[in-house]
């Protein structure tokens, strides 16, 4: 017995270590000096802001002024003797302003990405922007909603940073640590002029957009803004007047950008009264078997009028031209073949197919496919050590392409109103979205994003294209889309992404 006790104790301990390694390590990112500060970015073409002259920025005090010297003295006291929390904030925000605010937006999207529950009388309450924290919370940050939120976020950041660059080089006030070498800095200092602070521009612009998109998160967002702003003092990177000018500029631009949001058609996107006519129109074109909600109780379709919203990179006539030809009609040989593929997959789905379906599913509780591709874009831009303005340009190109893809895809979905495989008895290993099948949203989002990303990162273009293809096929593997839905979505997405590429090539960046 004594020996067995010893063996027991030793094996219990070793088993414990074997099973209870609970460390969950996220990849950690650190700040960098950008490969280029893109000093000409003040001339790049903006999306909404007519020109940098449309915002007002106070002329800064000269570095020789008593006022500035006092600010530097204050900065020195703030950047000395940092607490652990302050050091962590400096490192966190030092990774990049655009990078972090995109990440925050994705997290907000994930938190709000749950469809409302049905009530006892079988109805689905509509989230109320005036009462965002009640059940159901506002918004339901589904893929179309998130695509739009991220597009406005990136556009506001980009337009604001273009204006920022314009003023930075107009005033040319150097970083405080270059004026006074005794300022202790905790982050890499580039040659970029420091007035206005690009970090606070991004924080202010992002906060304005995100508070409008997630009105229940004002307190959370304000806390992030405050920490971001303070981190620039703790890091010794900006004096107070850099920050104040940045906050003003960022807010001014974001307000103009959000003025577009008020008239972009989104407010009518959930107009359920249009569906009867849409169904009738689809049927008159030969689609006798139309989509019906597979949820119990039947849920009204997700944003049936989202397809009527305006696009970023092309007009309404182009949107109609981008719409693909009809899907194979139920009963046709092609339809039967594609249905048989799904029926077979239901019986014989491989683990690898399940993995791919799960990896790309980005369903409820996630940041959705638009968030997935924003993450890919932000990571690629970070790895390429882009300046803030170039990172914002990258994310604006990608996220406007994604938003355009969403609008076009939804227009197509509700134009054709095609049934889901589940209307033919097919089950799913990932969960079924509540809107028509053709074309696949994942395919359209992914191809548009991959096309824009391939233009910005040509050496990674093949990888992005392959990922988009995999994301597209994942919907077949998850058994919620017919193959035609995915193939057509990929083609449309690629064409839509092409308009973002054309814009990028003509935006004056020379990139």
């Amino acid at each position: 017995m004594k020996n067995s006790y010893k063996i027991l104790i030793v094996s219990a301990l070793s088993l414990t270590f074997w099973a209870c390694d609970k460390t969950v390590d996220e990849p950690q990112r650190v700040g960098y000096t950008p490969v280029s500060v893109d000093e000409k970015a003040g001339t790049w073409k903006t999306y909404v802001l007519p020109s940098p002259a449309d915002v007002t920025v106070a002329v800064p005090a000269s570095t020789a002024s008593a006022e500035y010297v006092a600010e530097v003295t204050d900065l020195k006291s703030r950047s000395a003797n940092l607490s652990l929390d302050q050091q962590e904030a400096v490192v966190f925000w030092g990774v990049g302003a655009v990078y972090r605010w995109n990440e925050i937006a994705r997290e907000l999207a994930a938190r709000y990405n749950v469809p409302p529950a049905s009530t006892a009388d079988g109805k689905y309450p509509v989230p109320d922007a005036a009462n965002p924290t009640a059940d159901p919370k506002f918004p339901f940050a589904n893929p179309p909603y998130t695509a739009r939120a991220l597009a406005y976020l990136s556009v506001a950041q980009y337009d604001a940073l273009v204006a920022t660059w314009s003023y930075k080089y107009k005033f040319n006030r150097p970083a405080p640590s270059k004026v006074d070498v005794t300022v202790r800095v905790s982050l890499p200092v580039s040659a970029l002029p420091s007035y206005p602070s690009e970090d606070v521009v991004v924080a202010a612009a992002s906060a304005t957009v995100l508070k409008a998109m997630f009105p229940g998160e004002v307190t959370f967002i304000d806390a992030k803004v405050a920490e971001h702003r303070n981190s620039r003092l703790w890091a010794g990177m900006n004096v107070e007047s850099d920050l104040a000018a940045g906050a003003s500029l960022g807010s001014q631009v974001a307000v103009k950008v959000m003025a577009r949001a008020k008239t972009d058609g989104m407010s009518a996107s959930n107009n359920q009264t249009v569906t009867a006519a849409l169904i009738q129109a689809a049927q008159s074109r030969g689609q006798t078997n139309v989509w019906t909600s597979q949820e119990i109780p039947a849920r009204p379709p997700m944003l049936p009028n989202y397809g009527a919203a305006i696009n970023w990179n092309f007009d309404a006539a182009t949107k109609v031209k981008l719409r693909p030809n009809p899907a194979p009609l139920p009963g046709s040989d092609q339809f039967n073949k594609e249905l048989a593929e799904l029926q077979s997959m239901q019986k014989n789905q491989t683990r690898e197919q399940a993995r791919i379906a799960n990896y790309w599913s980005d369903g409820p509780g996630s940041y959705t496919p638009p968030g997935h591709w924003n993450r890919a874009a932000a990571n690629a831009a970070h790895e390429a050590k882009f300046s803030e303005v170039r990172m914002a340009r990258t994310l604006a190109l990608v996220s406007t392409a994604i938003h355009d893809a969403g609008v076009c895809c939804w227009e197509t979905k509700f134009y054709y109103y095609t049934p889901r495989p589940q209307q033919y008895g097919v089950k799913t290993s990932i969960g079924l979205p509540n809107f028509p099948s053709y074309t696949s949203g994942h395919s359209t989002f992914s191809a548009a994003a991959a096309t824009a990303l391939g233009y910005v990162f040509p050496d990674k273009a093949d990888t992005f294209t392959a990922q988009a293809k995999e994301a597209s096929e994942s919907r077949v593997y998850g058994m919620i889309h017919f193959r035609s839905d995915c193939d057509a979505g990929l083609v449309c997405g690629k064409n839509i992404g092409g308009y973002a590429v054309a814009r990028g090539q003509a935006d004056g960046s020379g990139l």
């Binding site: 027991l8 990849p27 799960n358 990896y359 599913s361 509780g365």
Partner: protein
Amino acid sequence: MKRLIVRAGLGTSLVLLTTLSALAQMPNDAIYMPKKTICAALMLGQSNWNSYWENTLKRENDNIGKHTTQSASLMAAGGLSNRVNLIVNLPYVTTNTSAGNLLGQKGFQDLSGWLKINAVQYKGLSLHTIVGASIPVSDYVPSFLPMSIGMGAKTVSGRLLANYKHEPTGLYITAHGTYTWRGTVNLDQDAYQFDGKIYNTNRAAVPNAMDAALRLGILKRTFQTEVFAERFACLSGDNIRRNDMPFLTNNMQATTAGWYGKYQPHNVGVNARASYVTSGLNMGQSTSFMLGLLYQINL
């Protein structure tokens, strides 16, 4: 919801499993196989729920209807000595729902093993130390809850069990408590939400858990009958978001009441278990049944 399955795998299935004649034994009793005897068992289990606790909200879901987990487990308990037993168990699990369109999952779940030691024996009173471990034996998808067949985590459990038996009548009372370490799981996804925060990794930590139980019964040479109450609780974890699906990181808890019985006049016997979850958190309110066929081998 998940916990149902885990129990099927580690706790209950074992619990459900064994028992040989008066000798048949499980990781939650004070019964031992004598040296050089093995009890093999085939046990069939079914667990259903119509309602579940979404966080603290008890609700039904028309898109799930009735959720069913079925299992077939092969178990063996052997006497290494008269006071040290080894128990192993392997369940095959299937899931399905009566409504909605979620694809049922199936496969071999987690192989588990328990080493049970009778550390102290004084007249009718005995103390036992029991250590267990489990490991997934197939590459099932752990994150597709509530359809997944298991949690996908390796586990290690330490249990202390006290028993008092009144020999003349066969009446006994058993109390035990367990701490279970549960490891991290590799997800197919490379990001997930935990407690309102996004984690940009494919590694998710399944919360550690504790359980405790009180059992009261009669154990005779050919039969055993017992009523029990069990409490299972994760020690951390988040809650199911409003109208969202459960996830591996959820703080699952349940209080269960039930009955266990066994009849084994000779080498061949049967056992059965019925239980009902009376309250819970982030889990289904399941009703479970098990029926087992036992066979004792003397080496």
